[in-house]
Symmetry: C2
């Protein structure tokens, strides 16, 4: 059967990116490689949950996980995003990377992504 109904890589990537927790994880990994537990630390969900999220990101090719000793290192794989990025670029000639814009964006995500509480 060649009609394997295998999900497109774009499916994997975009649905991986659709979750705010996973996006936050990626942002964290942008700053440095991390062990699974360290990734999980700032979240108030279970370790297992984060482990699953990381698996999703890995399946989408957005991160790579390398087991060394008893800790599993998670490393961003920016190239994994390339296909999706290219696809999106086709829908409008966006300015060639407004890095400042992104910086602010990231800041926001990192600061109050998950637990924003009412004052």
């Amino acid at each position: 059967m060649t009609t394997a109904q295998m999900p497109d890589r774009l499916d994997l990537i975009f649905s991986a990116l659709a979750d705010p927790t996973r996006r936050r994880v990626l942002s964290m990994l942008l700053e440095d490689d991390m062990a699974v537990s360290d990734v999980a630390a700032p979240f108030d969900t279970s370790l297992a949950s984060i482990s699953k999220h990381l698996a999703v990101l890995a399946a989408a090719g957005l991160i790579r996980q390398e087991r060394r000793g008893r800790i599993t290192w998670c490393k961003l794989d920016p190239d994994g995003m390339r296909g999706a990025s290219v696809w999106m670029q086709g829908f409008g000639q966006f300015d060639p990377i407004d890095l400042d814009d992104f910086e602010r964006f990231l800041e926001t995500e990192l600061r109050d992504d998950d637990d924003r509480e009412a004052p």
Copy 2:
């Protein structure tokens, strides 16, 4: 309650893009504005299904729907993708838009996205 758990715009955009049918719709709209029925035509799902997909895309700000007479026109809103595109660009300095690459990509998606059958 200010802690409304309102989904982030990026959630909306990326999860809208996570579905191959919706991506194909966007590709179609890239070529021209279309009525809902015309969008639905090439797919072998129900009209209602496509109508829902279009609602999702509209909610994500990726298309705009304008009712004129009894037909609802669907029009791509490339600017809706901007935020997500900017976000992604932050994860790697991708080349400034390889349009040829994209063209081929699109071709592929349009041709055999949904119904690939075994020979």
